[in-house]
Symmetry: C3
Subunit: 364 residues, 3 copies
């Protein structure tokens, strides 16, 4: 525990951890103060994300960037899965789908773009292993096709259409999970050597011992899940107070805060010239949500939910996921990055954010 | 003839050739036994496809993989052209268009994906000449644009719309044939050296003499055409018996059996580490159907059909062709392959197949 | 002035300059002879374009191809901006948008394709710096997304929809201009070295002195603007006489003539094996129109126009811009070119041109 306490004492950012108990206290005493709860929960998530990031990096030093990126993406998405399962049990399928689509778009565009930009501000040109980026982009492309085709090919309406979409969603969910599993086997099992990192960057900080890192990972992940739940409960009401549209909250605000932990690691990696880690987290997290979290939620809806959930999304969400995938594929094609690539990707994200922010309420 | 008879004696698969005369006998005596005719015709096509494959390879040894791939694709598509012309004469334009779209999607996704998978199961990483793959993907992209734009740009409805689509289809058909011809001239005439094979793989089998190979090619192509006709006649009724939707039969079953001959060669090439041959057959066959067979059928409809056939497809078919083209472009970009690339491409195909299988009948 | 007069005396093409004063005379005496004015203005633009091209090349010799291409694109688009501002003042927003979309598609497909073809007819394989091509394709992709998303994501109709599109267009316009400015800073400021030309080609002609080049640039640009105005005024009526659809005139004819100056330079560059210059002009001009000219017109409409102009385009135009961008991205990926690549890109353009030519009038 000593390195952990020492780290907290020396990093002013981590003093924000005080907001974690404050939040739980506030939740008990003032459950209706939505905008306050919203603000405090954001302040509490930030230091937790930073801790999670440091713990993951300590593990990544020992496992290599590919496994480290996967681990980071998985832990980050675990909290999103926990939250989505709670929404699923309540039958709020629109919120579940919005958070899935938002997470895919945010990870692919904002996290990747900001990593390129932050890395590029410090390093003139950065290189990374494009094989991994291509694989993740390929998986994302597959998932987008799976979400696009049912609505594009299906023509009939009414009851038969509904049954068609439900059974198709079940089949596609199984297909995507199998593809994701085979992808992991390919990355870690049969062809690990082609996913090795290109450059290794700086690593001046002494990593934590593995045991401490794992305990921190587990504990902080749990805390993030608890805090996130308060955040999700309060965000809708806070949004009304702050004048934000529902679509903007679901796609942008929830997704940005939900990915805070992964982002801290991805941005730190980019600044240390370990862009492989950043790309692995950003695209790996997006493809994991698309090919694993979303299908698992479909399957879980048969057990937990009031009715089966389909994989059919709002057309605007499908368009945004498709464009995000194409952007990732175009941009990671060369395996090189400079600051303007980050600007380009972030601007695509800003186009989406601006559109959703200005969208009239009825358009969701 | 001796090497041919010797080959038949030593290859148990070729003993299935006995089903060829059996099929013609059955057709005469029991023309209403659709499901039986369907089954026997599939069993008869398989050994013919194997023979065709061996004959083509014997020629390819002497001509190089680029010409060999073209030859193989052309012979394979010749049978499809013969069948489509018969359907054209009967005025069954929906069947003709479904078989065109299905053949493009099946060749691009199933044949390419299965080649990558089968090759990858035997070889760790395979390389191929991506210049040829890019050219074919470019041709496919052009054809998809030609099929996409009329329906996307056309706005007016009614009689003027109809005349617009008919005259536009005629113009596009001529444009595509010219582009295909120039593409052949580029590949075989002005720039043959950049299409040379990357690796040559194993070639342990002694090739047949050229004369025997050509005679076999001609004879077997004719038999395949005859057997395919029985297959197409029986497949619709057999599908009803077996509970498959019409869209699934047209796009998937007919296309898979129709491409059996090319597939045998493509898969054999992949396993022998001659991936250039496989990619050449798969994408070359798809682009030939899109840029040559389909336009020729439009032109032929003016002479043979009851009315001019247009190039306007069902929107779902256009979406699938577009995604298939994009998949091919993304995947062949690197000129390298491993087993998981095959899984990825096959999964996109499975998404389509599953969608079509579950599609309510009225949605076609 | 002497090199200029000498050049005119020795280049028969430049004798067409006599049509410039003839046009202005004709405009005064026979303002209703639309088809005649149309013909003479085309004949007058050609030699002016040739002069502009030579002057720009003289400057490019001293500045390098990247700056030269930017300069050329900017001067070429200056005339388009002047014309569009005139149409804006008259409230003809449909014409303004058609000329923007047409210019993007024509520069991306026709200018790039014809450069590849003309260069390829003289040189077996040509290489160019694909980093610049990729950057321009990325900027174009961003602009297409900005034009695509509002119409794809917006769902509500009526008054709230209208206000949404107007305020979104304003925000997107600012975003695009900022992105364009950062792109210039990246190209010329922080990372100029990665945009250096690959090969330098032949340069047998003696360049003009810089002073003469700049004076010629300024004077000829002014003349092109004046002649273009006559051309735009007469083209609509001439089109009716010649039986061309309105969409065809706006997208194809106006765009081709409007880009005549840039084309002369791009084609000359390609033939001299300076493909970097050609690609820089073609894609640089397209991305400048999409990210700078179009947004500036939106902003200017608040000051000059009767009502704010939006960035919402006719869906067919968005599809064509999207396909043009994808074609450019696919084709410039390798950094190599041969004649057939030009044929491929030109054929995509011909598909569009044919579709627009045959489009029934009501479909615009």
């Amino acid at each position: 525990m000593r390195p952990l306490l020492q780290e907290i004492r020396h990093t002013p950012l981590l003093w924000l951890l005080a907001f974690v108990p404050a939040l739980f206290l506030l939740q008990r005493t003032k459950p209706q103060a939505h905008t306050l709860l919203f603000g405090v929960s954001v302040l509490a998530i930030v230091p937790l994300a930073a801790l999670l990031s440091h713990a993951t990096e300590s593990v990544a030093v020992k496992t290599g960037d590919a496994v480290g990126g996967l681990l980071n993406a998985t832990l980050g998405n675990l909290t999103e899965l926990v939250i989505a399962l709670a929404a699923l049990r309540a039958g709020e399928y629109t919120l579940v789908k919005a958070s899935i689509a938002g997470a895919i778009v945010t990870n692919t565009l904002f996290m990747l773009g900001a990593s390129f930009l932050l890395g590029g501000l410090r390093h003139h040109v950065q290189e990374y292993n494009r094989v991994n980026a291509r694989l993740q982009a390929g998986l994302l492309f597959l998932a987008t096709v799976a979400l696009l085709v049912p609505s594009a090919v299906g023509g009939a309406d009414g009851a038969s259409k509904n049954a068609f979409v439900t059974s198709l969603s079940l089949g596609l969910a199984v297909l995507l999970i199998v593809a994701y599993g085979l992808g992991l086997w390919f990355t870690l099992g049969t062809h690990p050597e082609i996913f090795a990192s290109v450059a290794h960057g700086e690593d001046e900080e002494a990593p934590w011992p593995l045991g401490l890192a794992f305990v921190t990972l587990a504990g902080v992940t749990l805390l993030v899940a608890l805090v996130s739940e308060v955040f999700v409960e309060s965000v809708q009401d806070a949004a009304v107070d702050l004048g934000m549209s529902q679509a903007f909250v679901g796609f942008i605000v929830v997704a940005l805060v939900g990915a805070a932990a992964e982002m801290t690691s991805a941005f730190a990696g980019a600044r240390k010239n370990r862009l492989d880690l950043s790309v692995g987290i950003a695209l790996g997290s997006a493809s994991q949500i698309a090919l694993f979290v979303a299908p698992v939620l479909v399957l879980a809806s048969y057990v937990l939910g009031p009715a089966p959930m389909s994989l059919q999304f709002w057309p605007g969400a499908v368009v945004m996921m498709f464009i995000a995938t194409m952007t990732a594929a175009l941009v990671t094609n060369s395996g090189k990055s400079a600051w303007f690539i980050g600007v380009l990707v972030l601007t695509v994200y800003l186009v989406f954010a601006m559109t959703l922010y200005l969208l009239p309420q009825s358009g969701t």
